[in-house]
């Protein structure tokens, strides 16, 4: 969807402000949100694409106002409720434990987490899918504006590029986000000249490489 998250090429956000000696987390709650997102991902109730979609669906004002981990928190709450793992009423309850019942043994344990630290399902698949393109081929990024999740940024749609390399076969985000099939296919790094994307005033030698799936590309 063309929501505010697709911000490549937008103006008006001001300078980039590096922070000296930045901590990993700026507050304890940020670390807890990060950990909860990682841990609940192991429950297998949504895909990485689906979790991105839950952020993309935030209202644009809420998205821009929120800090990074506030966005993650909102997205996680949305996914938990959408999958029925948690109810909206439970979320709205004041902080602290509910009734007296003993908690059942946890699904995501220390052992489960230890085995997956730094690891994730990156969507690579072993399926033998034929590649539509090979390095050096001229392609055009499709003009498409799906209302669901997609990973083709607005700024390359309709622009011509060249296949730089074939990364292999991966699940397709547009369908995978809503559990509508993995549709595995080749992903390529596609090289676009900066002037093709931004116009004649772009630096002549500069280029932008974007990773794009077969279903986002047409031959020129």
């Amino acid at each position: 969807m063309n929501s505010i998250h697709d911000m490549g090429g937008m103006d008006g956000f001001g300078p980039v402000l590096p922070e000296a000696d930045e901590p990993v987390f700026h507050a304890e709650w940020e670390g807890r949100v990060f950990a909860m997102v990682r841990a609940t991902g192991l429950l297998g109730r949504w895909t990485l694409d689906g979790s991105r979609l839950s952020l993309e669906r935030l209202n644009p004002v809420d998205y821009l106002k929120a800090s990074y981990y506030e966005r993650w928190l909102q997205g996680l709450e949305t996914r938990l409720v959408a999958t029925g793992l948690v109810t909206a009423a439970e979320l709205a309850r004041p902080s602290g434990r509910g009734g007296g019942s003993e908690a059942p043994p946890p699904v995501v344990t220390v052992a489960a987490v230890s085995g997956s630290l730094g690891r994730r399902d990156a969507g690579r698949r072993a399926d033998a899918v034929a590649a539509k393109f090979k390095p050096g081929d001229a392609v055009v990024a499709r003009v498409m504006n799906p209302t669901g999740h997609t990973r083709i940024p607005r700024y390359v749609r309709g622009r011509r590029g060249v296949i730089d390399r074939d990364h292999g076969v991966f699940v397709f985000p547009d369908t995978n986000a809503e559990l509508a099939g993995e549709k595995p296919q080749h992903v390529y790094a596609v090289r676009f000249t900066a002037s093709e994307i931004w116009g004649a005033d772009a630096a002549e030698r500069d280029s932008v490489y974007v990773d794009l799936w077969d279903d986002y590309l047409d031959p020129v």
């Binding site: 980039v16 402000l17 590096p18 670390g31 990074y68 506030e70 500069d206």
Partner: protein, 206 residues
């Protein structure tokens, strides 16, 4: 001054909301608090840019490793025993005197965690995501770098599940240094592409 410093604002409400959510997940038997602790601890203390710096230094001292690294980053790094990286599809892109690489994720915040740890706030900021693809030279100026017009910039937008690591140029004045000494020179930002490594001044004779 925008999003980069929002984290310094009072966030009492958010803190309570996060605590409530954690209690709820534990109460419902979904996650173990100790598992959350383990994740936080790993990213606060273990998984960070030292991993990437080691890979970069190794490539500087070992041309065969460098060749393998640029051909298939994940496979080469697996040789070094850094966990989990081979799942990622790591792509290493090399800076040269005529090419400068810069990594961004315009659509969210994709970043090579196992190599660099969690991304800094500026990497995840709207300003960086919006401008890196359109005005990379302006972004580099925000980092104090004025890139010569005859250096070609390659911006890598991490739109898929590949993750990009920049192999910076080996600084002048480092002849004869071993991998450990070289690794200490490699900054996180130089592996994202928002810093270049300064030459090392000749040491005074002992």
């Amino acid at each position: 001054m925008g999003k980069n410093h929002r984290h310094s604002e009072p966030l009492a409400e958010t803190t309570l909301r996060v605590k409530a959510l954690e209690s709820l997940l534990i109460e419902k038997g979904l996650v173990d608090a100790a598992a959350l602790d383990l994740i936080v601890e790993a990213y606060e203390t273990k998984i960070g840019p030292r991993n990437g710096a080691g890979v970069v230094a190794r490539a500087w001292v070992d041309p065969h490793f460098k060749e393998r690294l640029l051909r298939d980053g994940s496979a080469a790094i697996a040789e070094l025993g850094i966990e989990g990286v081979h799942d990622e599809g790591l792509v290493v892109v090399e800076n040269t005197p005529t090419v400068h690489n810069l990594v961004v994720c315009t659509l969210c915040s994709c970043y090579p965690w196992p190599m660099l740890g969690l991304p800094p706030v500026w990497y995840k900021s709207d300003a960086y995501r919006a401008r890196a693809v359109r005005d990379p030279r302006g972004v580099l100026r925000d980092f104090g770098i004025e890139l010569a017009a005859d250096i070609a910039i390659r911006v890598w937008d991490s739109t898929a599940e590949l993750r990009y690591l920049v192999l910076p140029e080996r600084p002048a004045g480092t002849d004869g240094m071993d991998a450990a000494a070289l690794a200490a020179l490699v900054t996180r930002d130089s592996m994202i592409g928002t810093a270049r490594l300064a030459p090392v001044p000749a040491r005074a004779a002992p």
